[in-house]
């Protein structure tokens, strides 16, 4: 495991404000994993062939594993009786902090791959940097997640090349997905007030510093995949602040169905 970039003041979490900021920060990370895992879970059994079907389910499982570790940490910080499931299933829509990108639907395999690739490049850079967090638990979670994230990035990157440099039809389809999803990439680098507090404390990496590197990496691969880099005059944002896409309510009503219909039950 890597060494922290700076030592965390042992009294750091004794401040209520710091603790709340940390919780908010953790949700900002883990809610992306949850919603993306949920979207990928919709695809299980419907893939274009068995091999990618199995691989996509695998990614969903890896993300769910990360979600559970992060939510367990949140539950521990909250110190009340909340469980990982309360955090996953019992919040209101506005309380989720997932970016718009991960909420986008599985329009076709091209959209699935592009959404995944845009997220994976970010996630690998993020977990890499998080390995130097001042928070020991986060360092451990980053260390655990980085191998998986590298595999995910390789999977989605390889498929992006196949689709981009495959047939006329695949190129046209995947280019459409790139064009449509590009506007959601910038939000990955937005930070809230809570995130900024965590960056200052050395708990969170400052992802804005890596934004340029992210676009360089993504653009290089798009070029290798013989795809055009979209030129858009604007980016979309909102999810991180709880202002979600219209898809989000449907994602949650499906995901929360059992917990809402049968409250206080053990499964």
């Amino acid at each position: 495991m890597m060494k922290p970039i700076k030592e965390l003041n042992p009294q750091f979490l004794e401040s209520k404000e710091n603790k709340e900021h940390l919780i908010s920060y953790l949700l900002g990370v883990a809610d992306n994993y949850l919603i993306l895992a949920q979207r990928l879970g919709e695809l299980c059994g419907h893939g274009p062939n068995l091999e990618p079907d199995i691989a996509i389910t695998n990614i969903s499982l890896d993300l769910l594993g990360q979600v559970r570790s992060f939510y367990q940490y949140v539950a521990q910080l909250k110190g009340d009786k909340s469980t990982e499931d309360d955090i996953a299933f019992l919040r209101k829509e506005r309380e989720y902090r997932s970016v718009l990108l991960v909420q986008q639907p599985n329009t076709d395999f091209g959209y699935v791959i592009v959404r995944q690739f845009f997220f994976d490049v970010y996630n690998k850079m993020f977990l890499n940097a998080l390995q130097q967090s001042a928070d020991e638990t986060l360092r451990a979670l980053a260390f655990k997640g980085i191998k998986e994230a590298s595999y995910h990035e390789r999977f989605s990157g390889d498929w992006l090349k196949r689709l981009g440099d495959g047939t006329v039809e695949s190129k046209q389809r995947v280019q459409q997905a790139v064009n449509d999803l590009w506007v959601f990439t910038d939000e990955l680098f937005h930070s809230s007030k809570a995130d900024d507090a965590m960056i200052t404390a050395g708990v969170a990496p400052d992802m804005l510093q890596l934004r340029e590197y992210y676009y360089e990496k993504v653009e290089n691969l798009l070029t290798e995949a013989t795809l055009e880099i979209p030129e858009v005059p604007y980016f979309q944002k909102g999810g991180k602040e709880g202002l979600h896409s219209e898809y989000m309510g449907y994602i949650l009503s499906e995901m929360q169905y059992m917990q809402r219909a049968y409250p206080n039950s053990r499964w």
Partner: protein, 320 residues
Amino acid sequence: MSEAEIKSLEAQFDAKIANDQKIEPKDWMPEKYRKTHIRQISQHAHSEIVGMLPEGNWITRAPSLRRKAALLAKVQDEAGHGLYLYSACETLGITREELYDQLHSGAAKYSSIFNYPTLTWADMGAIGWLVDGAAIINQVPLCSTSYGPYARAMVRVCKEESFHQRQGYEIMLSLCNGTDEQKEMAQDALNRWWWPSLMMLGPEDKDSVHTEQSMKWKLKRKTNDELRQQFIDQTVPQADILGLTIPDPDLKWNDEKGTYDFGAINWDEFWQVVKGHGPLNKKRLDDRRNAWNEGKWVRDAAMAYAEKQAQRKTEAATAV
């Protein structure tokens, strides 16, 4: 090949099977053996793949993160079973695409049980407990079947199936230890899955067309009726532990035989579902066909890309 040569090969083949030696892909085998194995192994592979659908139906609605992860992993295992069963089948000289075509055209069969709908979360428990339970009873003997690739695939399949069965039972146990509503949900699932699970072990011996030949080739070690009795005898005590009632008023222990007597199975329903008239035959096949058709451009892209890469490699090598 002369008739005498074929006779001699047949004799060697029969001797191998009698001595419990495995038949391997490159060995000579009678055409009927090859065809029967393609039919059975592909039917099994198709069942795994179609079987992903009823459980896949609950992944997005699983009631806890732990259950969601376990269900995803389980359905993924089924995809894995499909994958190595198709591979085992391919060793008999048929391609995966041809096998899919047979499934999609309706020429090949898959287990009828997957034509029933999964209506509640308890169905995830009932399927694991009953359907996987019945599958294990069917499949364990296949670990020592005569065709090598199939036998080896089955060793792994059975290990995972027995894990799935325990997982399903554990879902049922949680429900039965839960609220009244949860227990009702469990009972309702048992009511709906019990009879189709019994049917899953195949038609009665008197109506089973493949039994005799399959016994000889060790594709079967016990008859359908024997397997069904074994399933009932092992499952009834498990239902007792759960505190659930098997939906069969005629079910009772027979001291003399040392087994349970059970009521008449509605074989008309069974044959209706086999014929394609079950609640979800059409939807299951439509879902498979759609996934395959909608994935065509993706598979084509992968092929085209691989060809381009190979060509570039050749060109680079020639340039040097």
